[in-house]
């Protein structure tokens, strides 16, 4: 499980970093989305991996913190997802505005050499 998660985070981060270094705005926005997925998975991983455990308290299982999954990173991830969703939507609007105003989808607003 650890290796799958680590590989997943690695592949998402690598693709994301490559994409945000690309010259087209759409590639950048997809890269940022991939990076935010990687970061969300990373936050969950920081709250200890495990499967089948109750989120906070199983019935009659109180008292042993090792038996349940840490709820705090899940709350953090939820917040992070909402915020990155909102900011990505905002970026999308600016991207469209930039496309409309400059007539190109290059991140610098003009084609190289133009």
């Amino acid at each position: 499980m650890e290796i799958v998660l680590a590989l997943g985070i690695g592949v998402l981060t690598g693709s994301g970093v490559w994409l945000i270094l690309r010259p087209r705005t759409f590639q950048v926005i997809i890269g940022l989305s991939l990076l935010s997925y990687a970061v969300n998975l990373f936050i969950v991983a920081m709250g200890r991996l495990g499967s089948g455990a109750a989120p906070v308290l199983a019935e009659r299982a109180a008292g042993d913190p090792a038996r349940f999954v840490d709820p705090l990173p899940q709350a953090l991830v939820l917040t992070a997802i909402v915020i990155s969703f909102a900011t990505t939507a905002l970026l999308l609007v600016v991207l469209l505005a930039a496309r409309g105003l400059t007539g190109t989808d290059h991140v610098d607003g003009r084609e190289p050499g133009a």
């Binding site: 940022l32 970061v39 936050i43 200890r48 705090l72 990173p73």
Partner: protein, 536 residues
Amino acid sequence: MRDHLMIAPVVLPLLAGAVMLALGGERRRSANALINVAAVFALVLISILLVRDADASPTGIAGIYRLGDWPAPFAIVIVADRLSALMVLLTSIVGAAAVVFSLARWQRVGVLFHPLFQFLLMGVNGAFLTGDLFNLFVFFEVLLAASYGLALQGSGATRVRAGLHYIVVNLAASLLFLIGVSLIYGVAGTLNMADLAVRIPAIRAEDRPLLEAGAGILGIAFLVKGGMWPLCFWLPGTYAAAPPPAAAIFAILTKVGAYIVLRLSLLLFGASAGASAQFGAEWLLIGGMATMAFGAIGSLASQDMARLASFSVLVSSGTVLAAIGLGHGAVGPALFYLISSTLGLSAFFLLVELVERGREPGADVLAVTRELYGEEDELQESEEVGIAIPATMGLLGITFIGCALVIAGLPPLSGFIAKFALAAAALDLDPGAVPVTVWIFLAVLIVSGLAALIAMTRAGISALWASPDRTVPRIRLIEMGPVLILLILCGLQTIKAGPIMGYMQATARSLHVPNDYIHGVLGSAGERPAPRAGGT
């Protein structure tokens, strides 16, 4: 009632912004403007009360507000100590100046200026007051989201292009912020700043590299915001393209990064942090000095005043970061400098627009090549509103000189005292031999001041004296007033330098020995050694 005062800088802008939107947003602009002005002046009063409370309290903490009244490590806390109260006061003053300035013209340029402005203030105040790392992230995002909207006010290709870079860079920085926060949580098991300060000395040696990696990544996220070289290339373009009232309040945003670096490095990695003490201090010093040098070169190279102001922002935040890296005695003067330079820069951002108003667009670039071309177009001033003050040009010139004095650090205004105190503190750090880094710091400090002076003088001469193609701009009192008030505050900072520096030194002392902060937040729980058994 007084207990709830410290949450007001967060709740009041939220309510004000929400009421404006509920009233109908753009369709009720004058009502929105009224609410905005009332809210910012209420914030100034509230923050003055907070500063007085913090200064009067023996622990230096005006109060600790537990949201939902849960005990401290579990609930998010709002802490108003001397530093937070001071930063909130600075935000409110600059905010009030920018809002009053915007009433004349800029509120009509974009959409939803007033609600966005209030949400920005909410985010900034929240970031200054919160005592929890993840809550800090949330407030950061609030202020960033509002600043995206403000930076794009008025639209136009330049603004949208600069805004696109600004948003992408800050989104990437936010992701780094999250990685840093979750690494720290994974190692230390808490995100409450005071609780972290208690737990960090007890972190096991094998977990320490992870913790320091987390802190380093977190630091990079803040330094992107604070504009440290080489993370600052987004800043000049964005700030120069932003509408002036937004740029004036953006001068605070770089200081949010510097504030958090200062707060966390001294709270988490201060003298009592065990093996991690002084983590990153030398990087702050080197990076800060590189930022000052980059800003100085950039301000010499910039051909228009808005870019000059943006590079001056870099010099200012570089100076603050380098002084934080020096640590110890330099922190108090660094705070004094932070206040003075932020007031001066905000005034300058507002002033730039007034000076530029009477000139044709691109006049600065033309001025450089005027000898070659030697032809000017007649400028038509048509739809400006207000009365032309006969002494307008004189007043503009005097305020320009005032801004230049503050930014370059010359007497008689507060910039000089701030830089003098910084230099004196840097020389006093080590009573034996003065290390070579301090000499370099002093050299960069003085040279960056000189560069600012040269660049400002050149810009001033070409804009106010030697400009053949200018008409006297029509400037209204509510536009000139805020600039003058900000400069008068710099003057007051000079006259009252003793008491203000005393406040800064007391702030620096309580930052270096954060026991009162930790005990205040955690209560008696602050005593426990708090080992964490589980690990990640």
